[in-house]
Symmetry: none
Subunit: 194 residues, 2 copies
Amino acid sequence: MERVEEYLEAIYDIQTKERRIVKTSDLAKKLDVKPSSVTEMLLKLSEMGYIDYQPYYGVFLSEKGEVLAKRIKRYHRIFETFFRDFLKIEENEAHRLSCELEHHVTDEVAEKVCGVIASESCKICEECDFRISRLSEAEPGKYEVIISPTAASGIGIVPGAILEVKEDGSVDIKGEAYLLSEKISSKVILEQVV
Amino acid sequence: MERVEEYLEAIYDIQTKERRIVKTSDLAKKLDVKPSSVTEMLLKLSEMGYIDYQPYYGVFLSEKGEVLAKRIKRYHRIFETFFRDFLKIEENEAHRLSCELEHHVTDEVAEKVCGVIASESCKICEECDFRISRLSEAEPGKYEVIISPTAASGIGIVPGAILEVKEDGSVDIKGEAYLLSEKISSKVILEQVV
DNA sequence: TTTAAATTTTAGATTAGACTAAAAATGTGG
DNA sequence: CCACATTTTTAGTCTAATCTAAAATTTAAA
């Protein structure tokens, strides 16, 4: 199934970027396999109803194939952003890991991760509209802690806790005012309390 | 390679928990494959120098095999903790994902993830020693301030500041020595500087 | 429009990791 | 200590995804 999804993604990419029928040779190049291997897989994908395949001519995704490809690509983007921007993992490595994970993730997990990286300007996907932000970027106001690094638990910043961000950037929690390093505050995810 | 690592982990688990030679049937049961499949893999692992295998008797990990098994298991623990405790992903799902990731992760990534979940009492592994503690409990040494109550900012205790805890419990910051009340010092979170 | 070049498909082989069935080795109860 | 049960290994198949080499088809050039 993993390889199936990789082929579908590749078809989707070419189809979307170049806006044309995808040829066997395109896929062979993109996936770094021989054309004969591609042909075989295309027969299988066609069999499964993911693509429309006409020998010697080319392929394009069916409705079903596009839905799947898009889902996988969304998972990929979410994880890549998470690794790169949130965990500060090096770009290529972030990509490599995401390529693995995208095939094993569930929607539930994707939503959680999405929540972590979400901010007012979530560029990852239109699907999720979280009113969630990082503490480091939060406007003054009252919030509930959604996710927090354990390092911050000592002062009471744990999931479920209510805190208030002040005008001066300090944070009130349990009646005490704190200043937090960027390193920590960027890892505290909040949801606004109304 | 992925399957190789899974076999090594299984051997490690049994060997460690039961403190005995691992039998073909143990692995067949644990990995849910037929004994004949196990035998085949054991020959391969032996060939690769990961195990000591004596037909009809059993196997145990070689030095090399144990090093690898331990590394993979550490990666697994780190990710499982991360998914379960930090992202609040459901237990089984966290486990399943970690089983995948453990084979694809680099040391750099593991360290980063470890940093996010680290706390005073990191139970994940002895290998990564992140030293995060409250000022009130800190051993003598140099530290960077991660979180601080605003009440302490007057003397320069703000996130990013470097301070030194002395033998007598006093705190040096910006060339001045201070004594802090428990009330304050328990709210200052530090990371040891090396 | 015919022929050469490029692309694609088919046919058959290979590899890793599993399987089944049968043979070999080990362990056990009378 | 021997016959039978259990465990393990060997031998031979199977499947998914790849490969190479050869055949078929399409494209492009003269």
